[in-house]
């Protein structure tokens, strides 16, 4: 799950940073001449900078290969079920809410009034996908459910006092 990866990667890097700052703080006393320190650590910095740039480039390229904006590649002859979604203060108007496992779906999402957010949650309340619901524009989000169950739609953009009760459900069967 992406959330877990994000959390673990963040923890690793944040811990690393904490260690670096901790070590420097511990080694802050016992004054030494600055010139040699500068020379040595400027050299180290070039190496560190290059590594950082390479890692960032690699991650950028890797994570940009497959963007959620594009229609995924389906098996031959398969077309997604197109579902129209209209958000309004404070509810969801969804043209179809019952789907089959493995059925590719394209949600075309817009709004009648203000900005809302169309977030799809599974039964364990993990966020699977989202897009913004905004007036005058139609955003698209693609999803194919792998498991049967009741999925929930939660509003993910603050839209007024009933924002947190602006939910709906979707049924997915075998």
């Amino acid at each position: 799950m992406i959330q877990t990866v994000a959390w673990v990667v963040s923890l690793i890097f944040m811990t690393l940073i904490a260690v670096v700052f901790g070590v420097v703080a511990l080694k802050s006393q016992g004054r030494r001449d600055y010139e040699p320190i500068k020379k040595k650590w400027y050299k180290a910095r070039s190496f560190y900078a290059i590594t950082l740039v390479i890692v960032m480039l690699a991650v950028t390229i890797y994570t940009l290969r497959d963007l959620p904006y594009n229609q995924p590649v389906y098996s031959e002859g398969q077309e997604p079920t197109v579902v129209d979604v209209e958000a309004l203060q404070f509810g969801w108007d969804i043209s179809q809410t019952e789907f089959k496992v493995g059925e590719p779906i394209e949600f075309d999402v817009t709004s009648k009034d203000v900005n809302h957010g169309f977030g799809i949650y599974d039964e364990d309340m993990n966020l699977l996908a989202q897009t913004q619901a905004m007036p005058e524009y139609t955003n698209t989000v693609y999803i194919t459910f792998d498991e049967p169950g009741t999925y929930e739609i939660l509003c993910l953009e603050y839209c007024g006092l009933a924002h947190h009760i602006m939910t709906a459900t979707i049924e997915v069967t075998e």
């Binding site: 992406i2 959330q3 877990t4 994000a6 990667v9 963040s10 890097f13 944040m14 940073i17 904490a18 700052f21 420097v24 703080a25 080694k27 802050s28 006393q29 016992g30 030494r32 600055y34 500068k38 650590w41 910095r45 900078a49 950082l52 960032m56 991650v59 950028t60 994570t63 940009l64 497959d66 963007l67 959620p68 904006y69 203060q89 009034d113 900005n115 957010g117 949650y121 309340m125 993990n126 996908a129 989202q130 897009t131 913004q132 905004m134 007036p135 005058e136 524009y137 989000v141 939660l154 509003c155 993910l156 953009e157 603050y158 839209c159 007024g160 006092l161 009933a162 924002h163 947190h164």
Partner: protein
């Protein structure tokens, strides 16, 4: 009257406005923290708060924190920048006055007229509240923000004017003539000037975008028949919000540049790499606001890809130059640790750790499942509270030390530790919530989401107590600085 007392009095009156800025900023941040705790208690199910009240708290907390931190950070910038260029004190005071007027209007709009659009006032929410608030509340808030914005705009136009007058152009303020080799590194502008130039450029842009979208909202509130393109409005809103919120740390970091070398007794001069880093920050800060719109697939895809790529790149200047430089300055320097230097050092840590979850969330595939979850407040509380605010509070201790005989005591040290642990816990609890898919800006939580919220509330109490300690120290300084003997330069006589 001897010259000594005149000089001392001048010096004191020069710092009067700085002190006022810091007291106003610190006091607002303190009160806003209490609203933060109330929100978490409500989300954690420990306190019964109506949705209307919750979203009013959310609105005032977001607006108040950004505004107050920006105000205090502007005073840090002003304090150091005035050593190098001629700034207008009148404008500095005018900004404070406009700020206070704006704040009063915002407070009245939110609490008396139940206005609650959150601080991003995303068009057309101010006009379409679903019956929750009316025209008066919306206009009070929007005009209040506009007045506040005009004050800051005047301030940054003045800093720009002063920099151009002294250095010739904003490009030269960023040291472009040194980068291009026309001038030697020794003649690079001071770091306070470089940072102030960057902030001037980005904030004038941000405030113009903000003013435009505020006016659009105001027109739409007054006459709903006038409508605007919601996507344009969203772009302007996030251009304003992202840049203005980020500029806070770029103003406050001047305190790090100025204070850390003094404590470590080592030089920290701008060189070419430093200048290039600040030019990069200038450009990236202006462009990366699109990472707030990664879930708007109607946006041109190249803008969103740019949003991700440049958000990554935006981490480089701080990771490679500022934080790295700070670590080098401190390493084996024999630095004297006290509350000021401690907070300043911690602030660099706060900025850098905050970059990590920010960069991760700027990744489009991650954003797809983390956008508008509590992951977002997770990363920005780290870098706003542990980064920017620690710089501001560190500066307050620095000023007290420079300007009076007050010494921090054990309590202040406890405050330092409490604040650090408090912010780390609060931000950590937000990040956990985000990893659990908890949506942000939700007045209520399902039971699975309540634990981290309650934990965060306790952490918030720790932060608030720590800030109270910082403020008490600062007030002690303000009351005693009248009795400090000074030499001709206005420096205190030990």
């Amino acid at each position: 009257m001897t010259t000594t007392t005149i000089r001392a009095r001048e010096r004191k009156s020069e710092n009067n406005q700085i002190v006022t800025y810091l007291i106003v900023g610190g006091a607002i941040i303190f009160v806003m923290m209490i609203f933060g705790i109330l929100m978490l208690l409500a989300q954690g199910g420990a306190l019964d708060v109506s949705p209307a009240a919750f979203y009013q708290f959310l609105t005032i907390h977001g607006t108040g924190m950004i505004g107050a931190a920006a105000l205090a950070a502007a005073s840090v910038m002003w304090y150091f920048l005035r050593e190098y260029v001629d700034l207008s004190k009148k404008i500095f005071i005018a900004n404070l006055v406009l700020f206070l007027i704006g704040v009063v209007m915002v407070i009245v709009g939110v609490f008396s007229f139940e206005y609650a659009s959150s601080w991003t006032f995303l068009y057309p929410l101010p006009a379409l509240s679903g019956g929750a608030w009316g025209t008066i509340g919306a206009l009070l808030y929007l005009f209040g923000m506009l007045i506040l914005g005009v004050g800051f705009l005047l301030l940054f136009i003045d800093t720009g004017r002063a920099i151009i007058k002294k250095y010739g152009s904003l490009g030269k303020g960023l040291g472009w003539d040194v980068i291009s080799g026309k001038k030697s590194e020794e003649d690079a502008p001071p770091k306070a000037v470089i940072a102030s130039t960057m902030v001037t450029i980005v904030n004038v842009t941000a405030l113009l975008a903000g003013a435009t979208v505020l006016i659009m909202n105001i027109i739409n509130v007054i006459n709903p028949a006038f409508t605007f393109d919601p996507l344009l409005a969203k772009n302007l809103t996030y251009a304003f919000g992202h840049i203005f919120a980020n500029s806070i740390i770029y103003m406050a970091v001047i305190a790090v540049y100025e204070i850390l070398p003094r404590y470590a007794n080592r030089p920290w001069k701008a060189n070419k790499v430093f200048l290039i880093a600040w030019t990069m920050s200038t450009v990236f800060t202006l462009l990366i606001y699109t990472h707030h719109m990664l879930m708007d697939s109607v946006m041109p895809t190249w803008m969103l890809i740019m949003g991700q790529a440049l958000s990554y790149a935006n981490g480089l200047p701080v990771l490679i130059v500022t934080a790295y430089g700070a670590l080098m300055i401190v390493y084996r320097s024999g630095i004297k640790w006290d509350v000021a230097s401690g907070l300043i050092f911690i602030s660099m840590f706060g900025w850098v750790v905050g970059v990590v979850p920010a960069i991760i969330d700027a990744t489009i595939v991650v954003n797809h499942v983390m956008h508008n979850t509590k992951w977002v407040p997770g990363h920005f509380h780290m870098y706003m509270a542990l980064g920017a605010c620690a710089m501001l509070f560190g500066f307050m201790y620095f000023l007290a030390k420079e300007d009076s005989a007050i010494k921090p005591n054990l309590l202040d040290k406890i405050g330092l530790i409490g604040f650090t642990l408090g912010v780390l816990s609060l931000s950590g609890s937000f990040l956990v919530s985000g990893a659990l898919s908890t949506p942000r800006r939700w007045a209520t939580h399902i039971p699975e989401w309540m634990g981290p919220a309650l934990f965060g509330a306790v952490a918030g109490v720790l932060m608030t107590i720590s800030l109270a300690i910082f403020i008490i120290h600062f007030i002690r300084y303000v009351r005693e600085r009248d009795y400090v003997p000074r030499d001709e330069e206005g420096k205190k006589i030990a």
